[in-house]
C-alpha cells in the first residue's frame, strides 16, 4: 500500500467517523432529494419564467427579454408547468413531513405556476413579469422558514 492510498484510506475512515460524531452534518443528506429537486427541477423552471420577461436598458436603448418565437414560448410553458406540478412533488408526505406551512407554500407554487402558464399561453409579457415577482416571493417565503444558513 502506497503512502497516498494509506492517506486516502485514513481520510475516508476519519470522514466517516466525523459524520457519525457530528450527526447534524449527515442530516444534510436527508435533504438531498429536496436539494436535487430545487437545483435540477425548480431552479431551471423558475429561470425560464424570469428570463422571459423584463428589459435591459443601456445607452443604446431598451431591449425586451420576451420570447421571440414559439420555440422560446414553449420553454416558458414547460417551465410554468414544471413549477405547477412541483407543488405535488413537494407536498408528498415523505418530503413535506406533513408540515402545514410547507404544504401551504407548495400550494402557492401551484397557483403561480398556473398563472405563469396562462400568461405564457396568452404570450402576455407584462403578466409574466408580475408572476415572476410572485414566484420569487413564494421562493423567499419558503427559504426564510426552511433554508437556514
Amino acid at each position: 500500500m502506497t503512502f497516498f492510498s494509506r492517506g486516502i484510506s485514513k481520510l475516508s475512515l476519519l470522514t466517516l467517523l466525523l459524520f457519525i460524531i457530528f450527526p447534524s452534518f449527515s442530516a444534510e443528506e436527508d435533504h438531498s432529494e429536496i436539494h436535487d429537486l430545487m437545483a435540477h427541477l425548480l431552479d431551471p423552471a423558475a429561470e425560464a419564467i424570469w428570463d422571459s420577461a423584463g428589459f435591459v436598458i443601456t445607452e443604446e436603448g431598451e431591449f425586451s427579454l420576451e420570447p421571440k418565437n414559439q420555440e422560446e414560448w414553449d420553454k416558458v410553458l414547460y417551465g410554468a408547468k414544471v413549477i405547477s406540478e412541483s407543488a405535488f412533488l413537494l407536498s408528498r408526505p415523505e418530503i413535506s413531513k406533513n408540515r402545514k406551512d410547507w404544504i401551504a407554500v407548495s400550494g402557492l407554487l401551484k397557483v403561480v405556476g398556473d398563472k405563469a402558464f396562462e400568461a405564457a399561453e396568452r404570450q402576455d409579457v407584462e403578466e409574466l413579469f408580475k408572476v415572476g415577482a410572485d414566484l420569487y416571493q413564494v421562493c423567499v417565503a419558503c427559504h426564510q422558514t426552511y433554508m437556514t444558513d
Binding site: G7, L18, E28, V56, T58, E59, A133, L135, Y136, Q144
Partner: protein, 146 residues
C-alpha cells in the same frame, strides 16, 4: 500524528464545505461577504429589470482604470415601490451604491456586489435590496425590525 491532524483538518474542510454548499443556495451569504462592505461611485451603464433581481451596472473610474461593477438589487417590484424606476435610474446617471462585495473579491470574471442603498445625484438615498435575504442588518432596510 501530524499526518492524522492534517487528515482531520481536510475532513473538516470537506464536511463543512459540503454542508455549506447544500444549505446556502440563493442566500445572501452564499454569494456575498457580509464582512466586505463597499462603496461604489460611478456612472450607470446598464440596468437589467429582471426577476428575481434587478442588476445595475456601474462604471467606476479610478486611477486611470475603468471597472464595471454589477450590483444586484431587489426585485424590480421592490425597487419600483421604493421609488426607483426606469426613469430614475438611467444610463449616464452618477450614483453611489453602498453594499457588499461578492465572496470572490478578485473581480473574476467580473466585479459583483450586493447593493443595499443607492444615493442619487439629488442626494436622495433609497433602499435597493431585498428584505429577508440574510443580508446584514445594517440599517439600510426600512423594514428591518430593530
Amino acid at each position: 500524528m501530524k499526518k492524522i491532524f492534517k487528515i482531520i483538518g481536510i475532513s473538516f474542510v470537506l464536511i463543512f464545505g459540503m454542508s455549506t454548499y447544500l444549505s446556502s443556495h440563493h442566500a445572501f451569504t452564499a454569494e456575498f461577504d457580509p464582512n466586505a462592505p463597499i462603496n461604489i461611485t460611478g456612472k450607470v451603464v446598464k440596468v437589467e429589470w429582471i426577476n428575481p433581481h434587478a442588476w445595475v451596472h456601474v462604471e467606476v473610474k479610478e486611477g486611470g482604470k475603468t471597472t464595471v461593477w454589477m450590483v444586484e438589487g431587489g426585485t424590480p417590484n421592490t425597487l419600483i415601490r421604493n421609488g426607483i424606476n426606469k426613469k430614475t435610474i438611467t444610463p449616464g446617471t452618477v450614483i453611489v451604491v453602498r453594499g457588499y462585495q461578492s465572496k470572490g473579491k478578485l473581480c473574476l470574471p467580473r466585479c459583483i456586489a450586493n447593493g443595499r442603498d443607492v444615493t442619487f445625484p439629488d442626494g436622495r438615498k433609497v433602499f435597493m435590496g431585498s428584505s429577508g435575504t440574510g443580508a446584514p442588518r445594517d440599517g439600510s432596510d426600512p423594514r428591518e425590525r430593530r
